[in-house]
Symmetry: C2
Subunit: 167 residues, 2 copies
């Protein structure tokens, strides 16, 4: 194709954008770990991403309009990364990838609990979580007192990790 894409098929175009494993893992860590800084993405990566790959993928994701960077409001010398609306809309893809992996691959229990809760919660929970991500990343406030899906997922993960009973 003259515009440089392999084809205009929506699955192919999505894979051209997301087909790099590290790119989706960075988005995952920003979504589920609320990691907003280069250092947190580097040092807390379960998969041990290399700093040159992380820098390269952040640049690519920025070019693609999936993440933005701006001075951190609480720490002007630091850059804080945010997901954009298109990136937030990848949550259902993540939920399905997690559900599929949990069913067919040798997952770790502590790292699989969030995928399980997302699968059980279904599209209604995904919508709530996307609204929370819009608040965290885009500044779109939700009504006061709206419960945090991220906090619930994180609590379940920590409880599982420590072998503590779930609340």
């Amino acid at each position: 194709m003259s515009d440089g894409h392999r084809s205009g098929c929506p699955i192919n175009l999505s894979l051209e954008v997301l087909g790099d494993k590290w790119s989706l893992l960075i988005i995952r860590d920003m979504m589920f770990g609320n990691r907003r800084h280069f250092r947190a993405l580097l040092t807390q990566s379960e998969e041990g991403i290399a700093s040159n790959i992380l820098a390269d993928r952040i640049a690519k994701l920025s070019e693609l309009g999936l993440i933005t960077s701006a001075p951190d409001p609480s720490h002007k010398q630091r850059v804080r990364l945010s997901l954009t609306e298109p990136a937030i809309q990848l949550l259902p893809v993540m939920a399905h990838l997690g559900a599929w992996g949990r069913r067919h691959l040798p997952v770790s229990p502590d790292l699989a609990i969030r995928a399980q809760l997302l699968e059980e919660g279904g599209p209604a929970l995904w919508d709530e979580f996307m609204d929370e991500l819009r608040e965290l990343h885009l500044g779109v406030a939700r009504p006061a007192g709206t419960p945090s899906v991220l906090a619930a997922l994180t609590a379940a993960y920590l409880a599982q990790k420590e072998g503590a009973p779930l609340p």
Copy 2:
């Protein structure tokens, strides 16, 4: 990790298996194009896959238990490829990738119509389509007279491609 995986996170493991772009495109063509032979996957590929990459990815997908090959019942010298149950269960991931691409990327109308119909049909349609794929690939018969989702998607694609009105 000692078992050779980057981490036991279900999203990471799914990406280790599927993170190669060509692998998911081969599964896409087997699902939506009902391409069951090496030659069809090679010559009808919208994205122009190279034959060495196709051979390599078919071998990888076989090792991973996502496709099987067996002599073609109608043509014993030919090998026919089939999707396995885990591969069939990737349909919701495909549907979401297609929906996301259609919304955010410069898709071709003829190649996007099936993604649109899958999105509009939602999980109920995906379940029907997965049952049809189980019939086509695993020999699990459906009740006689069950309508074909694949035929409906293919008809919509051809109508869009030829600029004909949809039925």
